[in-house]
């Protein structure tokens, strides 16, 4: 006789976990506990829901031109998705600029599917009730580089320039509080409250700027990409807002990803 054994229902994952209450002296144990928690969740990472959705959006004809994205060139040739995310940002001759993955995907949605940029960048980031299509597609594309070494090219002069410019932008202090990215992420072993701050200027720590993104954020249960992560850093830096998929963000991502070059990207992840 066949019968089902009900093992366990879903745990309430997002709500009320008091990480921020953690004692600073307990910093390492807390981080270790969170890592255990994340390990359990990674087996059933909700990010996979957006991978599935993103794959559907990639292969299904859509937009005013009723075209799929299967001819989109992510740098390895039209339609090649496997490994593409780990080799971006990169220079694209058709637009004569360096683009990160999400910037390129949005470009393809505009050129191949006929979407308008104004509509895509009006509300580009996820909320509790809505995930924009570029976020799902970026999650799908990123998943096809899981387990691969990061290898953003530094061959074209504009790729080298993007790294140098990104480094300048990373260290550029301004805004009401005189902060740069480096104010928080340029020194070893610092914390904001109990949140450890990796030093992204060092290769072995720079991986943490890329790893786990796109990520399912347990705070609010939403899917976010690196475009969101950098934009929200600028909010906290008290800067004005950087343009969605702008060259500034691609240059910053070039700086961060090249610093992390050679390390293994694990695919979409889970974030607090």
């Amino acid at each position: 006789m066949r019968h089902a054994l009900l093992l366990g229902l879903a745990a309430a994952v997002a709500a009320g976990v008091p990480w921020t209450q953690a004692s600073a002296q307990m910093d390492d144990p807390v981080a270790a506990e969170f890592d255990k928690f994340r390990e359990v969740l990674e087996k059933d990472n909700p990010a996979e829901l957006w991978e599935v959705k993103g794959e559907q959006l990639w292969t299904t004809p859509g937009g005013p031109k009723k075209a799929s994205l299967e001819k989109c060139d992510l740098g390895l040739g039209p339609g090649v998705v496997k490994g593409a995310y780990a080799q971006m940002p990169r220079y694209f001759a058709d637009v004569d600029r360096v683009m990160d993955a999400e910037a390129r995907i949005v470009h393809c949605m505009i050129t191949l599917q006929g979407y308008e940029l104004d509509k895509l960048d009006d509300k580009p980031f996820s909320s509790a009730t809505h995930t924009p299509d570029p976020v799902s597609i970026t999650t799908y594309v990123a998943a096809q580089s899981a387990g691969m070494k990061l290898a953003p090219p530094q061959n074209h002069p504009k790729e080298k320039a993007a790294y140098a410019i990104g480094k300048e932008i990373f260290h550029y202090r301004a805004g009401s509080y005189d902060f740069s990215c480096a104010s928080c992420h340029g020194v070893d072993g610092q914390r904001i409250r109990t949140q450890p701050l990796p030093n992204f200027t060092k290769p072995e720590q720079a991986i943490r700027s890329v790893q786990g993104w796109p990520g399912y954020r347990m705070t609010g249960g939403v899917m976010h990409t690196l475009q969101w992560r950098l934009t929200d850093c600028y909010r906290q830096q008290r800067f004005p807002e950087p343009g969605y998929t702008s060259e500034t963000l691609s240059a910053l991502l070039t700086y961060l990803t090249v610093n992390a070059s050679g390390q293994v990207y694990k695919g979409p992840g889970i974030k607090r």
């Binding site: 300048e168 914390r191 800067f239």
Partner: protein
Amino acid sequence: MKLTTLAILAGGTVLLASCATGTGDPRAEALAMMDRDFHARGIASKDRLKEDAVMAACNKYNDNPPADVVARLQKEQLATIRYPADGKLLGDWKAGEKVAQNGRGMAWSDKGGVGGSCYNCHQIGPATTSFGTVGPSLYQFAKMRGFGTDIQRYAYGKIYNSKAFNLCSQMPRFGHVQALTEQQMKDITALLMDPASPVNQ
């Protein structure tokens, strides 16, 4: 003769232009790129993107400008500090503790109500263990340095404009940029300086 001069001038202009847009100086290109790409949102106006003389020096010299530049600019920054007209530097340390805990304010998602964000970077009162470590510990601030007026003035001045004392300090200039009010700065000074404050127990 005149023609030659013109040609040189024209050449100079071309060079300058290529610095900002071509394969020239990364810093100039970064500034031009950010100017193109950032826009105002909420209370965060686009002019926040500009570096003032202090940040320009810190950015240009990687937070370590030459001594003469530091001396000149620190003097200018010191002159910006407005000490309270009533001469009283200490407010209410309990109110100061609330300001120190509050990390909100000045971001495009904020509307008003600016806090000092002090615990984000500093250990201060002993009851709060979730403090950051970007800045030095301020626990027992006056107990270690003394409770005198000179230290009070230093504490108030540092909160008002940190760059007057350490040009490329990572600490915001809370009074200078009008993030905190005079009363809030007095209250934080009391948190650090009042003998009754838990900071000095």
